[in-house]
């Protein structure tokens, strides 16, 4: 079995930790708990693959997150559907670490359950397409598309 390092990338409070928790533990909490540094979870995908998921905090601070991205096999970009500004953070990260573009990646457009608050526009999709062709409307709260998104990533890797 091979371990694959997966990094969750996105502005704070977009739901990275919630998505990992949903995927790994099938749990969700409304309470916001800031992640300090990094939180790591693993999940066995199939007999050949195990995900080691790095839930990284602090993308707002330039450079601080960089060491955590070293040796990553794949990236999960996360944006908040209710706060499209979170896309800008991704832009910034890509600028700082262009090497990420070469890695297999998916994008989770999260909090899809907050239907009323969604502020999504088509132009945002164009932006996401520059990062990855594989985006998913997810909800950590309901679990919608979360598993599917992770599985899709695993296929991208192998």
């Amino acid at each position: 079995m091979k371990s694959k390092k997966i990094c969750m990338i996105g502005r704070f409070a977009v739901g990275k930790t919630s998505l990992v928790d949903r995927y790994v533990k099938n749990q969700f909490s409304e309470k916001y708990q800031t992640t300090v540094g990094v939180s790591i979870s693993t999940k066995i995908i199939d007999v050949t693959t195990k995900f080691v998921i790095w839930d990284i905090a602090g993308f707002e601070q330039k450079n601080h997150y960089k060491p955590y991205l070293r040796g990553a096999h794949a990236i999960i970009y996360v944006v908040d559907a209710t706060e499209p500004e979170s896309l800008q953070t991704l832009d910034q990260i890509i600028q700082d670490s262009p090497e990420l573009k070469a890695l297999p990646a998916v994008c989770f457009i999260n909090k899809a359950d907050l239907v009323d608050n969604i502020m999504w526009q088509d132009q945002f999709n164009t932006k996401i397409n520059q990062l990855t062709k594989h985006s998913y409307w997810t909800s950590a709260k309901t679990g919608d598309n979360v598993e599917a998104g992770f599985v899709a990533l695993s296929h991208l890797i192998s």
Binding site: M1, K2, S3, K5, G37, V38, I40, S41, T42, K50, V52, W54, H64, P67, Y68, R70, G71, A72, H73
Partner: protein, 601 residues
């Protein structure tokens, strides 16, 4: 009107107005005004300080509260600023307190003389490993429970050994987390080295050993020593060399048996086991015996040395006229130094003792006695000295040099008072003196030649023997030249040999022969003593008539007397007597007729 006024104003004050405008502009333009003020700020403050010293104080006084506020507002900035200073300080303080602790332990342990401590001491001596470390190794227990070999790039686990069920988390998550923590530490602490190297996990300890490609994380229960850290580092280096390929190839991770085996060697359990001795094949007790033996030997020889030293010290201290000032032992030889009176002669000194002495004049009583005796040179005399009071006792002839000697002695150093208690003995008689009082008997002559007394002349045996004895005191006696005359035998012979004859007119031939023998014997005696007399007594058998007999007796007496006188015997040395007949006999008895002799001394 107003226009005129303006014109007038312009005419009169145009220059001033321009200046005022420029001033106004300067005051309004913050940039320009600041530049202007800054030009004078420095000299102005100098002036102000000079004029008012209190102002300087006021300016430099900073309210501590402002620091508190500043820190509150910018905690992180302060942390970032202080960390480079505080970090090394903390490390230094921790290091020094650990050193102190180690030193304390060392001291405490060194005090211990238990068999175990001795054993460790020996081990330390034998192996060169510091004693403290051996104590730690033997008293400290630890167990390496988990070892993670982690790719230090991605943080992914390369290989793990240990009991997985003891882990609270997935081993992959742990290795990633550890890597992340390291990155976090490096990032937040600004450390540019290897970052985190150890952490405490409750009662357990986590060590992180860094390699160029992979790190080792070890979870250890208990208290490991630096030696273990060294061992892990060595293993990691070994892995980097031997498994270089495998480390670089993620496909080989987590299923490399050799790598796992290598790591499993690190899963050691260190206990205070008692059977360690046997494992290492060190039997401690014979060594202890050897050490005891050596100690005993050392003790015994030290004791012997001390005894010898004491003996020598006593001997030297008791030698009068020698002052011991130092005693050293060097290469099997005792070297004594001291002051020695020239008259001291050491007796029975130990073979391994050399005396290096400086001469001095001793005033010890024994030495004074020695000096006095040297001057007296008379073994008969007894000299004593008590507290420098010298007494001479015994008998002495007190020859003419005596007084000189006494004077000399009185001047000897250390002689405070001299008591001459000698008894004078008369001088010995000389041979001449002796002979004057005791002339040699008989015809003996004494002639001393060198030490020998030669005696010559005539003497009877008895007299020679007695005289010999009497002069022996004057020297050896040589009496070989003395002619011994046996006066006693000769006298007896003469006295017992009467001349029996009956003729009255002449002495017959046999009678003359007999008479000549008597004469020669008498002459011999007379050589010893010329005054020797002889008495002649005539008698007969009184046959016939008394008258005839007496006449005949007289006639025979005369014949003998004449013979003796004729042969040199003075008549005054001849006494005569006739035994007259008072009755007659009928029987003729020739043996009763004749002259009888008697030597008179």
């Amino acid at each position: 009107m107003s226009n005129d006024r303006e014109q007038l104003k312009a005419l009169l004050l145009s220059e001033e107005i321009a200046q005022l405008k420029a001033l106004q502009e300067l005051l309004q333009n913050k940039q320009k005004f600041s530049e202007k003020v800054s030009e004078v700020l420095d000299p102005a403050t100098d002036l102000a300080f000079k004029a008012n010293p209190a102002f300087e104080k006021k300016l430099s006084k900073i309210d501590p509260q402002s620091y508190v506020e500043a820190i509150k507002a910018n905690k992180q900035t302060f942390i970032d600023a202080l960390l480079p200073i505080i970090g090394p300080m903390i490390r230094k303080s921790v290091t020094s307190s650990i050193r102190r602790f180690v030193a304390d332990v060392n001291r405490a342990v060194e005090m211990g003389v238990s068999a175990k401590a001795l054993k460790w001491r020996w081990l330390a001596f034998r192996t060169g490993v510091p004693f403290t470390e051996i104590v730690f190794n033997n008293t400290i227990e630890y167990q390496v429970q988990q070892v993670f070999l982690i790719d230090n790039h991605s943080g992914l686990l390369i290989t793990h050994v240990g009991q997985e069920e003891l882990l609270h988390q997935d081993k992959d998550a742990i290795s990633s987390m550890l890597t992340a923590i390291q990155d976090f530490v490096k990032d937040s602490m600004g450390s540019d080295g290897e970052g985190l190297s150890a952490a405490e996990l409750g009662d357990d300890l986590l060590w992180l050993i860094h390699g160029s490609k992979a790190n080792i994380a070890a979870v250890i229960k208990g208290a490991p020593t630096q030696r273990l850290n060294d061992a892990i580092t060595t293993t990691l280096e070994h892995i980097h060399i031997e498994f270089n390929q495998q480390l670089a190839e993620p496909n080989d991770w987590n299923n490399n048996v050799e790598l796992k085996t290598e790591l499993e060697k690190l899963l050691v359990t260190k206990t205070q086991s008692e059977d360690e001795e046997q494992q290492q094949g060190i039997n401690f007790w014979p060594w202890l015996l050897v050490v005891c033996g050596l100690l005993a030997w050392w003790g015994w020889s030290a004791y012997q040395h001390k005894v010898t030293l004491n003996k020598i010290t006593n001997q030297l201290n008791q030698t009068a006229g020698f002052m011991l000032t130092g005693l050293e032992y060097d290469g099997g030889q005792f070297i004594a130094t001291g002051l020695k009176d020239p008259s001291v002669e050491f007796k029975n000194l130990a073979d391994n003792l050399t005396v290096n002495s400086t001469p001095f004049l001793s005033l010890a009583d024994d030495i004074i006695v020695k000096r006095v005796k040297n001057i007296l040179n008379d073994e008969q005399l007894e000299v004593t000295s008590i507290d420098n009071q010298v007494t001479i006792q015994g008998r002495s002839a007190k020859d003419p040099a005596w007084q000189q000697k006494i004077t000399l002695i009185q001047q000897l150093p250390g002689v405070a008072q001299l008591h001459d208690a000698t008894q004078k003995i008369p001088p010995k008689a000389t041979l001449a003196d002796y002979l004057a009082n005791n002339p040699p008997p008989d015809k003996l002559v004494v002639k001393p030649i060198n030490d020998t007394l030669f005696i010559s002349g005539l003497a009877s045996q008895e007299n020679l023997t007695a005289f010999n004895r009497s002069i022996e005191q004057f020297g050896k006696v040589d009496a070989s030249q003395v002619e011994i005359i046996n006066r006693k035998e000769l006298t007896q012979y003469i006295n017992r040999s009467p001349l029996n004859f009956s003729q009255t007119r002449q002495i017959n031939e046999t009678g003359l022969k007999h008479l000549s023998t008597i004469l020669s014997a008498l002459n011999k005696i007379r050589r010893l003593n010329t005054n020797t007399s002889i008495k002649l007594t005539a008698q007969s058998d009184c046959q016939g008539s008394i008258e005839q007999s007496n006449t005949n007796n007289q006639a025979r007496l005369n014949l003998v007397q004449i013979y003796l006188v004729d042969n040199g015997i003075p008549s005054k040395h001849i006494q005569t007597a006739v035994i007259a007949c008072t009755s007659t006999t009928n029987e003729v008895d020739a043996d009763k007729i004749g002259v009888w002799f008697e030597v008179l001394l």
